[in-house]
Subunit: 298 residues, 2 copies
């Protein structure tokens, strides 16, 4: 009896082994929030590519209003583009829907997608509708661009950097916030322009799962002050660490540049907190133990 | 009781109405084989975007060897990039697989994807694996590029143009060819460089469904000589017209330039036929009646 992959990491390693090497235009392939491509002829600008899927019964419960499903479907990859410091451009929407869907079901889904597209300046340029013999399945491919010097990866954190998060964490599912969150597109673009920011990613699987990924890519350890984690109302520290779907930004900041960044952030985004919650340590030091977030294969 | 969309066309109209206008870089949005984007700073070159989904039980039967599923999944959007006269670049692979999949199932799927990526020069740069509570679902987003003057659309056919197809048609399902076809990537790129070619698309839903789409986008009618349709062994003319998944190229050719194109094609692609099967007529003339190909909503 063959074994199953034990983690997303093991699966990624297995997948990489079957694929040919990527071409020289690929600066970041499988493994970060988005793929990063050097564009021929566009010296200062990089292309970002992201795809993200939603499955009924996994990412939302059956019976969820379809306009909310549509909003969430487009806002999730928008959060990834934001986490690279980029701006979204073009989307392709794939929908596998039950054959029973009537026109108002289709309209509701695309009303939610359209609302997010309008709000964040995305052009929907194609996609596909197919029949699903099972649950509703959505997959959105999104392109974006980022000035080369603004691009933020998971791998840039250095020992001594402050670990910060935007907004508040926890309870996205129980509050329904996972269906109507606002991806931090403007904030991500702003932070992309800041030299003080050394690494960035979005919080989709939960701090307890995502921070170790950032630390691993940066070959660093981390220490967190759990009491400093900004929490949504009626959320425990444990929920703030292990609940997923916050769609806030997790970033590391050069500590010498923090005071200046903090004061300019307050002017640029007066209604959204940017909170230091810990510090990056050298590789090999003991990390703060965190309850793991979501890993769909674990 | 709300009604269901009666056709893909009606559904597309409904979808378009819910979405905001596209930005000025979009030259071709929803409706052609690929989206076509003007790239900032790349004067002579256009960006192509395509997404394509495969659903178990719809596009392949349960139990199909997974390496063949992987091959087909990447080769389908490759056929669309080819049909624009373009070259493929980067792919994002989304797989929703049953939780029961073991490592050799994953390996087989990605072996097929990897084989196609290697053969046609595609870099796989990202994607996602999620759990499916239902059937296997694959969605592939593919980028490509095409020199601006090589781009072929469905809308360029003119009255008097010859209608041609590459290769032979019919029987892709019963022969199993729908699992191991070769997308016409080199041939499409070659035809893209030919001024004689006025419109092009790939044959995925069957000639009887796809030719009317090309004619509609070109505001033309058509006449076909059914006896001229090149058929696979043991296929009837009816199957050549209405079977889907041929993944050959359907193109229209300026008749004055046909003799020269034909002779150079014979040198460039000696092993693949390029066959005239009819002629484009002015808008409003009577079209040859064709048995419709596949429309998943009809």
């Amino acid at each position: 009896m063959k074994r199953k992959p034990q983690s997303e990491e093991e699966l990624l390693t297995l997948i990489r082994r079957e694929l040919p090497p990527v071409d020289s235009s690929v600066m970041t392939g499988i493994g970060d929030d988005c793929a990063v491509i050097r564009s021929a002829g566009r010296a200062g600008s990089l292309e970002l590519l992201k795809t993200d899927a939603l499955v009924e019964g996994i990412h939302f419960i059956p019976g969820t209003p379809l306009d909310k499903v549509g909003w969430k479907a487009l806002c999730r990859p928008l959060s990834d583009i934001a986490s690279m410091g980029g701006s979204p451009l073009h989307a392709l929407i794939t929908v596998a829907a039950p054959a029973t869907w009537n026109t108002s079901a289709w309209r509701a889904l695309y009303r939610g997608i359209g609302k997010a597209a309008r709000q964040f300046g995305v052009s929907v340029v194609g996609g596909e509708t197919v029949q699903s013999p099972g649950p509703l399945f959505l997959s959105i491919a999104l392109t974006g661009s980022v000035p080369k010097r603004n691009r933020k990866l998971r791998s840039g954190a250095k020992s001594g950097d402050l670990i910060c998060v935007t907004g508040k964490l926890g309870g996205a599912f129980k509050s329904g916030r996972h269906l109507n969150f606002h991806p931090r597109v403007a904030e991500g673009r702003w932070l992309g322009g800041e030299n003080a920011v050394t690494a960035m990613m979005d919080l989709s699987d939960g701090l307890g799962s995502d921070l170790p990924k950032l630390a691993r890519e940066s070959h660093c350890s981390f220490r967190i002050a759990p009491d400093c984690i900004p929490l949504h109302k009626e959320c425990s520290v444990g929920e703030g660490i292990s609940d997923g779907e916050d769609y806030e930004l997790l970033l590391t900041v050069n500590p010498r540049l923090w005071p200046s960044l903090q004061s300019r952030w307050g002017q640029a985004s007066p209604r959204l907190a940017l909170t230091p919650i810990g510090v990056i340590l050298a590789h090999g030091e003991q990390c703060t133990p965190l309850t793991k977030g979501y890993d769909h294969l674990a």
